[in-house]
């Protein structure tokens, strides 16, 4: 149909077009001068709604977008961030002076009404179990002027700034326009980054906020990938596709350290793992109503072996989960040493000389080694006659079972979980895990509601600390949990990054810089 010359010309044109198209659609669509950092976490956030999200995965994202009223110095002392200063004007009144000139990334101003809106939303009664620390104290707010806010508390709260330090500030106008459902995937904040895109179960892309009040951040684009398998994370890290991975198994370190351009770091997490005892009236294991049984299960487990063998020393066993940084920490409280004979005796005293059967819901992803620890616990319990069947749940399934799941009654007698909070903030451990309305509370042990009320209604620091000491002893005498170690998180970081994990709880891109591309 065409001459040979024409045919050759057409073919050549097609080849050129193909090359141009494939190049244009190629992987690297970024500017050559753009600084991009990529970090992997094991699962997608369930939501980015800052007042509803639970767990690290959501927070690791939104903390870059929505800021808090306070931050912390390297010693975990409270420092103002979106406020200039504050003062307590009476037992039940606090005044906060907001930083002026701060705007949200959509141009809306950061004002007293914005803070009030966020505080109200954080204690919205539609979600009564959400464990925000300030909920037991908070009454109402009043805007004195555009940048001066008065907050009224229901009860005297001598550490109230600490209680509200953690709540991120969401932009109200945009949030109300898009509606409650959409907030989970479309948040606007005052922070150094803006949410550009979220491909579910793939990656979340944040871009630098050019108009950030603190100055444009060094890193232009921050990508948070979702990679569930650690072996895949390691492979991508070693091939240069990722700059930061965390939660590594210590067994991988020998291999990773051999590679050039890699640095390893570790930090004690504020997270402590434990097994919860379901002591609600519908619990499949009514044996757990007896404190001797719960003590026995604590004595039965060799926690030092867990720290040394399974965690490779990257962890430490506390007496309970009451951390050293919590107020009124009592170093004289003795925990449970490994004593299987004592465990058997306690079980016999409680009327279970031959033990009993129990199911342990173990989740496979929230912490490195969580499932292995559950299996080690099951083996130790079996040695004292408690036949433990380990049920494996994906982390997301476990979260759905436990969080706000009390009415669904899907939790077994034992369930593995963990909790974390900033230093000094023991309040949400009590509201979230101990009180009957707690977001992940399966605790109906007598006496705990009363001690929680006493703690939150304390009139003086001395009274507050006194109740906390009583509470710490109760955690041993009448344990609501089988206590397990506080973990160290292990990071592998590319040396192209000028960044190390600090003591602050979450990974924030604003602290990073790229040394070389």
């Amino acid at each position: 149909m065409f001459s040979q010359k024409t045919t050759k010309s057409i073919l050549l044109l097609m080849i050129v077009v193909l090359l141009v198209v494939t190049t244009a659609c190629g992987k690297n669509t970024d500017s050559v001068n753009e600084k991009v950092v990529t970090y992997a976490q094991i699962m997608d956030p369930t939501t980015l709604d800052v007042h509803r999200a639970t767990g690290d995965q959501g927070r690791n994202v939104y903390i870059n977008i929505c800021e808090t009223l306070f931050t912390y110095d390297s010693d975990w002392n409270l420092e103002p961030k979106l406020i200039e200063r504050y003062e307590q004007v009476s037992d039940l009144e606090w005044v906060f002076y907001l930083k002026e000139g701060v705007k949200f990334s959509n141009g809306e101003p950061f004002t007293s009404e914005v803070v009030g809106w966020n505080l109200d939303r954080g204690v919205d009664t539609e979600y009564p179990r959400q464990a925000w620390d300030y909920a037991p104290y908070y009454d109402k707010w009043e805007a004195i002027d555009e940048h001066t806010l008065k907050i009224y508390t229901k009860i005297k709260a001598f550490n109230f700034p600490l209680q509200i330090s953690d709540i991120p500030m969401l932009e109200p106008k945009h949030s109300e326009e898009i509606g409650e459902e959409a907030i989970g995937t479309d948040i606007v904040g005052t922070g150094p980054y803006i949410l550009e895109s979220w491909e579910k179960d793939q990656q979340i892309v944040l871009v630098a906020n050019e108009n950030y009040w603190g100055g444009k951040p060094n890193v232009d684009k921050y990508i948070i990938k979702t990679i569930p398998e650690q072996s895949t994370q390691i492979a991508e890290f070693l091939s240069g596709e990722l700059d930061i991975i965390e939660g590594l198994n210590f067994e991988s370190l020998e291999m990773i350290k051999k590679e050039e351009g890699v640095k390893i770091d570790s930090r004690y997490e504020t997270r402590v793992i434990w097994l919860g005892f379901n002591t609600l009236d519908w619990s499949p294991n009514q044996e757990l109503q007896d404190s001797r049984v719960r003590q026995a299960l604590n004595y039965a487990v060799n926690k030092e072996a867990i720290v040394n063998d399974i965690l490779g020393g990257y962890g430490r066993q506390l007496a309970t989960w009451y951390r050293e940084d919590f107020p009124a920490y009592d170093p004289n409280i003795k925990g449970f040493e490994y004593n299987p004979e004592k465990a058997k005796q306690l079980l016999a005293d409680a009327g279970y000389p031959n033990g009993f059967s129990i199911k342990l819901q173990s989740n496979t992803g929230s912490t490195a080694k969580g499932h292995e620890i559950s299996q080690a616990v099951a083996a130790d319990l079996a040695a004292v006659g408690v036949k433990c069947e380990v049920l494996t749940e994906e982390f997301s399934a476990m979260r759905n079972i436990l969080i706000n799941g009390q009415d669904a009654k899907k939790a077994e007698g034992l369930y593995s979980w963990s909790w974390a909070s900033k230093p000094g903030m023991v309040g949400n451990w009590i509201t979230g895990l101990i009180q009957r309305t707690g977001i992940t509370s399966y605790n109906a042990i007598e006496g705990y509601e009363e001690i929680a009320d006493a703690i939150f209604n304390s009139e003086t620091v001395e009274e507050y600390e006194g109740h906390l000491k009583v509470f710490q002893q109760m955690l041993v005498d009448d344990p609501p949990f089988l206590y397990l170690p506080q973990l160290q998180k292990i990071f592998a970081i590319s040396e192209r990054l000028d960044w190390s994990p600090n003591e602050h709880y979450y990974i924030e891109a604003v602290h990073m810089d790229v040394i070389e591309k």
């Binding site: 198994n249 067994e251 991988s252 291999m255 496979t364 299996q375 494996t392």
Partner: protein, 284 residues
């Protein structure tokens, strides 16, 4: 017995290999408590990640090494052979019974019965097995019985099609029409005259499908939807070892090798059975 020995002597090298491996597998499954050096769930966290004897730092205390909980890998492979044997046989039995029954009905009655059954076959074939199996496991829950049921009821289609085709052919034969003529009822014709003539094909197909059943169980358990981890299974071993694939490759590789060898052996044995029982089915 003499005939069997004579047949065995005449078998091919692959058939002999398959039979040997299958015999070892069945022997391990039956005598696991006597053969295994340790208990399958004997945890010892101070002995994690001991390499196999043929690797550096291996020890003869744990010939195939230990896993992330310090459990002996050889012991768990031996005990895992029980699960694969049980699932392999029982799931095939379920599929065979279900598929043969539906195939007989479709082939014999034809008409709307055949149409309905064949449309169900089309629907089953359009769903990927793993998708269907995961949905069913999510509904039924994990466990050995549920795994057998799910693999069984998702695997009947090949039997139904084979049996239907043979039934369609057989029902036109003179001895069938003669039976009908003299007043035999349908059930008698199906059970007494058609079934005995097609059951060999179904059984041969069953031996070939057994390896698929074993692979399916391993896949479901690997994905966390099959047998609970409290039981030692090859699939759960492969799954638990994948986090340590770079540092303790034997935890995943060795049970994976067991799965491969057993499935290969079953396929060899299945081919041999087919060749011996019905050479017409041999593919060209």
């Amino acid at each position: 017995m003499k005939k069997l020995i004579k047949t065995l002597k005449k078998s091919t090298a692959t058939a002999k290999l398959g039979l040997i491996i299958t015999a070892i597998w069945i022997f391990c499954a039956i005598f696991a408590p006597l053969l295994a050096p340790y208990g399958p769930n004997e945890v010892n966290t101070s002995k994690r990640f001991i390499p196999p004897i043929f690797a550096e730092k291996g020890t003869n205390e744990h010939i195939l090494g230990t896993d992330e909980m310090g459990r002996d890998v050889l012991t768990r492979i031996i005990y895992g052979s029980r699960i694969s044997l049980i699932v392999g046989i029982m799931a095939v039995v379920v599929s065979l019974i279900l598929g043969t029954t539906l195939g007989l009905l479709a082939g014999y009655y034809g008409g709307w019965v055949d149409s309905i059954i064949m449309r169900i076959v089309d629907v089953m074939l359009s769903f990927p097995f793993i998708f269907m199996a995961l949905v069913l496991m999510a509904v039924l829950g994990s466990g050995l019985t549920n795994v057998i049921v799910v693999i069984g009821i998702t695997g009947w289609v090949p039997y139904a099609r084979t049996v239907r085709a043979q039934t369609l052919s057989l029902k036109e034969r003179e001895f069938i029409t003669a039976s009908d003529t003299i007043g035999c009822n349908d059930m008698r014709i199906i059970l007494k005259h058609i079934l005995p003539n097609i059951i060999d094909s179904a059984i041969i197909l069953g031996t070939l499908e057994m390896s698929s059943a074993i692979l399916s169980e391993a896949s479901l358990t690997f994905l966390g939807m099959g047998i609970p981890p409290s039981m030692a299974t090859w699939g759960s071993m492969v799954a638990s070892g994948r986090e340590y694939i770079y540092t303790a490759w034997w935890i995943t590789a060795l049970p994976g090798l067991a799965i491969f060898l057993v499935c290969l052996a079953i396929n060899f044995v299945g081919d041999w059975v087919r060749d011996v029982r019905d050479p017409r089915l041999r593919s060209t």
